[in-house]
């Protein structure tokens, strides 16, 4: 498998240095028909960024409406469709594939010293499955959209007259992409590690993505099944969830959250992996507590499967059930705390270089600690009663998903940009944009925590007037956030063409992905390396970088 994929792309041996993967065929078809994990990763990266801006524009529309307590700009049905689409696009089209499918595809083979993933054709197929699912769902959005919220709660979703079916079909299809990529990574990590790369030398990003893949493979089928039944119920009046037809609406919630709670970890675990890599590079230090960070990824993946009931504390579920789910949710928090302490520990006695990715790492740590602890606060049952389905919850999960995951995504994007494209971006603009984003993000979501305390339920088109001031503050913050993101798009796009060319290892990192040239040749390694030490061991020799110490 490996050899044949390799053979498709390698030029004849001994014909000078092999071309980089970017230069190995420049036609559109050579990209669309590629088996190269790096090209698949880049195509995923472009797709998820496009969807991120689509979902972001929905969010801005929502925030603009919320400037006014009464009807404003558009009607309630449009508002309901917009928040549904915002959730679906951001979660299924951006957040879930963002880090694993884009960075994971690009980096896992480089990090484990392999020439490609285990199933290169399946990898490309996964990309097209993703595009197909997204296209079906987009078709549904254009033809009316759905107004159920991304949670599709029954019996509302069984009875609404909006276009639930195509959107659910799109998500059903996209689930296969997630499963295929997950299987591919699991097999790759098991079978294609370079000689000497034992499990305990595996880069932490690989550990995190490996744990994520397990969740993707095990949990996604449950969501597919539940959504399929909702679709059938909406179209044909099947009666599994709608009590008017003898169904049980809470059954849907159990099935939905059995996937969608672990899905949070599908999004967050790879983000944690990115941070584990980047923080070592910029602190120039071995990971403090490597085993603890690696094993807590598996711990989160495992325990995360049994915490779903905390989404249902006020559904009328029994008190004992609520107590059990609350305790299990706390355990997830403990695993996360272990990681946070170990990241901070990594800075201890390091040699820290302040750069754009490092600023994102700082943002990530703050958002993860505050967002994570408010999550545990939400799992504290008596407090959840007041906060449930309110803006506090909205603020909490945006702290995790926008705060932590986007910070990690942007940290990874800036950290690996030289690896992927062999060029550097403008550091000054990078710092400006990062500052704007972190400030804008706080200004957007801290008022939402307070709105939740104040009693504003989520998914509110109109709201009592006393909530207006905080909503205006939140919208102002969102504008700042959007502005920062637009700056990033501009300077990174410019850097693709005009960025300064950089050497193989501009950060002076000892992460394994920097063993190959940047950008890597199609076959990654002229010779499969033999790994003799742990990643990020800076005891002996610190390679130089273009970014100098200040």
């Amino acid at each position: 498998m490996l050899r044949s994929a390799d053979g498709n792309h390698t030029l004849g041996a001994g014909a000078g240095p092999a071309p980089t993967y970017l230069r190995d065929g420049t036609t559109v078809l050579s990209w669309l028909n590629t088996r190269d994990h790096k090209r698949v990763g880049v195509m995923f990266l472009i797709s998820v960024v496009v969807f991120f801006f689509l979902g972001g524009s929905f969010a801005m529309a929502l925030r603009l409406k919320l400037l006014q307590p009464g009807p404003f700009l558009f009607d309630a049905l449009t508002y309901n469709r917009l928040f549904t689409l915002h959730g679906i696009v951001m979660i299924f089209f951006f957040m879930i594939p963002a880090i694993p499918s884009a960075f994971g595809n690009f980096l896992i083979p480089l990090m484990i010293g392999a020439r490609d993933v285990a199933f290169p054709r399946l990898n490309l197929f996964s990309f097209y499955v993703y595009l197909t699912g997204a296209a079906i769902a987009l078709w549904g959005m254009i033809h009316g959209g759905a107004d159920t919220g991304w949670t599709f709660y029954t019996p509302y979703s069984s009875t609404t007259s909006t276009q639930v079916f195509p959107i659910i079909l799109g998500l059903f299809v996209i689930g296969f992409s997630s499963i295929l990529t997950g299987i591919n990574f699991i097999v790759t990590v098991h079978t294609l590690r370079a000689p000497g790369l034992t499990w305990m030398r595996l880069p932490l990003f690989v550990w995190a993505t490996y744990a994520t893949s397990i969740i993707q493979v095990l949990a996604t089928p449950v969501l597919g099944l539940a959504l399929a039944v909702v679709g059938v119920e909406n179209v044909m009046g099947f009666g599994l969830f709608d009590p008017a037809r003898g169904g049980d609406p809470l059954l849907f919630q159990h099935l939905f959250w059995f996937y969608s709670h672990p899905a949070v970890y599908i999004m967050v675990l790879p983000a944690m992996g990115v941070i584990s890599e980047a923080i070592c590079t910029f602190a120039r230090k071995n990971p403090f507590g490597y085993k603890a960070i690696a094993m807590s990824s598996l711990g989160i993946a495992f325990v995360g499967f049994f915490a779903w009931g905390h989404h249902m504390f006020v559904t009328g579920q029994s008190g004992l059930t609520n107590g059990i789910f609350a305790v299990i949710s706390m355990l997830v928090g403990v695993f996360t705390a272990i990681k946070v302490f170990n990241w901070v520990g990594t800075l201890y006695r390091g040699a820290i270089l302040f750069t754009t990715p490092f600023l994102y790492i700082c943002g990530f740590l703050f958002f993860l600690v505050f967002g994570g602890m408010t999550g545990i606060a939400l799992a504290t049952v008596s407090l959840d009663v007041h906060w449930h389905d309110g803006y506090f919850v909205v603020a909490h999960f945006h702290f995790i998903m926008v705060g932590a995951v986007i910070m990690a995504f942007l940290a990874g994007l800036h950290y690996w940009f030289p690896k992927m494209f062999g060029r550097t971006y403008h550091e000054g603009w990078g710092l400006v944009a990062a500052t704007l984003i972190i400030l804008g993000f706080n200004a957007t979501f801290i008022p939402q925590f307070l709105l939740g305390n104040y009693g504003m339920p989520r998914r509110y088109y109109q709201y009592p007037e006393r909530f207006q001031a905080l909503n205006v503050a939140s919208t102002a913050g969102a504008s700042l956030l959007a502005f920062g993101l637009i700056i990033i798009v501009i300077y990174l796009t410019l850097a693709l063409r005009w960025g300064k060319r950089c050497e193989q290892n501009p950060w002076g990192s000892k992460g394994f992905e920097w063993m190959t040239p940047s950008p890597p040749p199609t076959h990654n390694f002229d010779e499969i390396p033999t790994i003799t030490q742990e990643p990020h061991d800076y005891r002996t020799h610190a390679p130089s970088g273009v970014f100098h110490a200040r």
């Binding site: 049905l77 609406p249 008190g319 006695r349 740590l365 505050f370 407090l383 007041h386 009592p464």
Partner: protein
């Protein structure tokens, strides 16, 4: 302190018996969260300043934590979170376990309104009137999709699910008006599915209840439509029965045939009665109405002339209801009408 933190955190007023206890945990949790975030942040900042990169080729030692350090990393958050859980869960059990002597109100949610029904009295749409300092239990179901009953000031929220009953309870402590919001997304009108809890002083509540009971007959076609799932309090004779209680008729008149201050109402209709002035009167609607309005005009032989007039105290339709009730009191009558009370067994959280 409580008031200061409450305002800082934008929490609504504390208008139920457990609101303040919920908020106390809230303060503890938020303060420890801020403390922990700050501690992590300061620690990182300290390392950042202390261990900044000094030369391009700087090497660093290989540092790994001891088992004790890792155990601390696990122990601190675990202990803190379990403490939160222990306090929170205890409070939650209290919050979800109604005391045995609650006043029950039935709630039916539908797109996009709240309907309230009191077992012994009126129905209302979007307005729930309750007495202060009395535990109130809500038994709730939905007619269409899932809604969620949320009163921020009471720190109470409970999903209202079609096809099953859920319950919640609270004891309002301060008379006033409190917003009811729907917290579970339910469609285009979700954000305007709002209502109001009006908490009244107990005596005012009693007055209001009496007034409503008396006014029931008057308001048959009024704004307060009866709930579908509660037997309407509406057959005219049933309304008459309620009025006979609220207006105090049954303090002197029995309905079971025994003699009291006034003649019994049982089998009264159609009876021939001898009056004090020797005249014989057939008891019919006309006589009944006259006796309510001007009781002393014709006194049944053997009774004292003590009954007060209800002229201007009862409205025409209320008298009609009373008369209809008296007519229905026949010892050989077949009892018809809706069953009393709800037909399901309400759930109890104990």
């Amino acid at each position: 302190m409580n008031e200061f933190l409450r305002r800082m955190l934008f929490l609504p007023e504390q208008a139920s018996s457990f609101a303040q206890d919920v908020d106390r945990l809230h303060y503890f949790v938020i303060l420890t969260t801020i403390l922990m975030s700050t501690a992590v942040g300061l620690c990182a900042l300290f390392f950042f300043v202390r261990y900044r990169r000094r030369s391009e080729h700087q090497t660093t030692p290989h540092v790994t934590p001891s088992a004790l350090v890792e155990a601390t990393f696990i122990g601190i958050p675990l202990a803190l979170f379990l403490l939160w859980f222990a306090i929170g869960y205890r409070e939650y059990v209290r919050q979800t376990t109604p005391p045995p002597d609650t006043m029950d109100v039935y709630v039916m949610a539908k797109k996009w309104m709240w309907k309230f029904a009191y077992p012994d009295g009126p129905n209302a749409v979007n307005v729930l009137r309750i007495p202060a300092n009395r535990p109130v239990r809500l038994l709730m179901t939905s007619q269409d999709v899932i809604h969620s009953f949320f009163v921020p000031s009471f720190r109470v929220k409970q999903d209202v699910v079609p096809g099953r009953y859920t319950q919640t309870w609270f004891e309002a402590t301060e008379p006033g008006r409190y917003e009811i919001l729907c917290a579970e997304y339910c469609g285009a009108g979700h954000s305007i599915m709002r209502g109001e809890v009006i908490v009244m002083k107990p005596e005012e509540y009693e007055d209001w209840l009496q007034g409503v009971r008396r006014g029931l007959a008057r308001r048959q076609d009024g704004t307060n439509t009866p709930l579908e799932f509660v037997p309407p309090a509406s057959s005219l004779s049933e309304q008459g029965r309620l009025i006979s209680i609220s207006a105090g008729c049954v303090k002197c008149h029995t309905v079971d045939g025994t003699r009291h201050i006034g003649p019994t109402w049982l089998d009264m209709y159609g009876r021939k009665e001898k009056m004090q002035n020797g005249q014989t009167v057939v008891i019919d609607e006309g006589y009944m109405t006259e006796s309510i309005m001007d009781p002393l005009a014709k006194i049944v032989a053997g009774y004292e002339p003590v009954m007060p007039s209800y002229q201007n105290k009862l409205a025409g339709p209320e008298i009609a209801a009373l008369v209809e009730y008296m007519k229905s009191l026949q010892s050989d009558a077949v009892k018809i009408g809706p069953p009393e009370g709800p037909v399901y067994a309400p759930i109890r959280g104990r």
